[in-house]
């Protein structure tokens, strides 16, 4: 069991999501960087689809009354253990009974993932343990964690091995690769030129439903579009010309023109963006995008 002694800004139980339910109006959801959660699970000996915590910008203080085995991946946060031991990222951490793990603010990036041996034993809802905040289901009671919550862990199988993971290299400042369309044709040359040549800032109103961008307005002839299916990474342009990149918990249909879609291998990079960060876009052909393999995490035995 773990106890939430102090909640972070938005601590959410996440696994790899619930794909395949778009026709019910339910987005795929799940960890914003699934490979980072899977790596953390690997470090504690879990199945990669076990539920862990996704922690955003400012983290919780967690009590381990019976001890436990944990691992952190993703953005570095200020972190402390009550034992005084260092809190290494991307490594198996063994916590003694009664220890606390305190996470502070994110030092770089936006989100980290905490896996716990056995995995968080919240009920599956529609095939997943991921929290879906907009409709309040999944995860722990459909909400972010609060001080006083206590979460059960399933029991781990096999011996605890001390492991270290190596995150794939990341192109922090490279433009996000997008496939133009399906409605790029509704934008005039000036609108397209603005979108593809200026950096946009991530607005503080962003969340898992969408990254709201602010910058030069992307102009388009005012058009009423029929509602169309959309998916994470689709970049909508509402009438005010400020683009929105749909996120993991975004709607499954929308009526705004979609100027471009972020390619699948670059979606985890969206998870790192924090308010104020700049993003740029560059087009790539769809066949070329498909050849880009998701970068792998390497795992090695420690000592």
């Amino acid at each position: 069991m773990i106890e939430i002694l102090r909640a972070g800004l938005c601590d959410l139980v996440m696994d790899l999501g619930r794909p395949g339910l778009g026709a019910l109006g339910v987005p795929m959801g799940g960890a914003a960087d699934p490979a980072a959660l899977a790596a953390a699970n690997h470090l504690v000996g879990n199945d990669e689809s076990s539920a862990g915590l996704e922690i955003t910008l400012s983290g919780p203080v967690l009590g381990f009354p019976a001890g436990g085995v944990a691992a952190l991946t993703g953005a570095r946060f200020a972190a402390m253990r009550s034992s005084g031991a260092a809190v290494a990222w991307n490594e198996t951490l063994v916590l003694a009974a009664g220890e606390t793990l305190s996470l502070g603010r994110a030092q770089d990036g936006c989100r980290c993932w905490l896996a716990l041996r056995g995995g968080l034993a919240v009920p599956q809802v529609m095939g997943s343990r991921s929290t879906f905040l907009p409709a309040g289901f999944g995860g722990y009671r459909g909400r972010a964690l609060q001080a006083g919550d206590a979460l059960s862990l399933a029991s781990g199988a096999g011996e605890v091995r001390l492991l270290r993971a190596h995150a794939p290299s990341s192109e922090r400042d490279a433009p996000l690769r997008v496939v133009a369309g399906p409605q790029a044709g509704l934008f005039d040359d000036a609108g397209l030129a603005v979108f593809f040549s200026h950096p946009y800032r991530v607005d503080p109103a962003s969340d898992r439903r969408g990254l709201r961008l602010s910058g030069p307005a992307v102009t388009h002839g005012r058009v009423e579009l029929a509602s169309q299916g959309v998916l994470p990474g689709a970049i909508q342009v509402p009438p005010d010309g400020q683009p929105i990149i749909l996120g993991w918990d975004g709607p499954v249909t929308g009526g705004y023109p979609v100027i471009a879609g972020v390619v699948a291998v670059d979606l985890p990079r969206l998870a790192r963006l924090r308010p104020g960060d700049a993003v740029r876009f560059v087009t790539i052909e769809v066949e070329a995008a498909r050849q880009l393999a998701t970068k792998r995490w390497d795992i090695e035995e420690l000592g």
Partner: protein, 224 residues
């Protein structure tokens, strides 16, 4: 010194990113495939779902189109191209289960009903009669889990969304958005014109089929 002349407006006409696709198909990113399906959207949807093609992770019906979500790294197969070879010529949509939905019209439950009735040149009674006389078809779900976009609204009842969305619309609210009638499964912000409230539980994630109304289902409203 450089001259202070203005830089020319950048001309970065992007490539289309949409090579070698049938004319009614478009990519949305590299995993989403938008396919125009017109009036055959539901029959194409059921056809694709029944074929259970391995490269498809999800099929999302919408207004005259489908979005296919492909598994990461997968390309559209010959089977998929064949299934959607001529969607606009496919059989017209056929319909599913009939639901009767009890609705309390007007008053606090339907704050926009009187204004809509007036705009349609009817009294409230005639408006409600007109709304309940039709059989609706669920075209697709979206906006919220379980939110049905229903076709079949009489043309006189079509109404634009509110200029300024409400901060909170009650769960069960029956609304008009353009040519569609919808029901809000959960409370929250909403821009549709609200004419009444249904007591049915439209979405319960704990049910085997969480959404009460599924694409293709038919609906009749019964005033209470």
């Amino acid at each position: 010194m450089q001259s202070s002349e203005k830089k020319p407006h950048p001309r970065v006409k992007p490539k289309t990113g949409q090579p070698s696709l049938p004319p009614t198909w478009r990519w949305v990113g590299d995993r989403g495939l938008w396919v125009a399906t017109g009036d055959a959207t539901l029959s194409c949807y059921f056809e694709l779902v029944s074929r259970n093609l391995p490269e498809i992770e999800d099929v999302i019906p919408a207004d005259g189109s489908l979005l296919l979500v492909l598994r990461q790294g997968a390309a559209p197969s010959a089977d998929l191209r064949a299934a959607l070879a001529d969607p606009l010529a496919a059989a017209p949509d056929t319909c599913g289960a009939l639901h009767e939905i009890a609705v309390e019209y007007g008053g606090a439950a339907g704050p926009d009903l009187l204004a809509l009735a007036e705009a349609a040149g009817m009294d409230a009674h005639a408006y409600i009669h007109s709304h309940t006389a039709m059989e609706y078809t669920v075209a697709f779900l979206g906006f919220q889990p379980g939110f049905p976009y229903m076709r079949g609204l009489p043309e006189a009842l079509h109404a634009p969304r509110r200029a300024s969305p409400r901060v909170r619309v009650a769960a069960g609210s029956v609304g008009i958005g353009g040519a569609y009638c919808g029901i809000y499964p959960a409370g929250g912000p909403g821009g549709w014109q609200i004419i009444g409230r249904a007591t049915a539980d439209l979405f319960d994630p704990a049910r085997d089929v969480p959404a009460l109304l599924m694409p293709g289902d038919r609906v009749r409203f019964v005033p209470v």
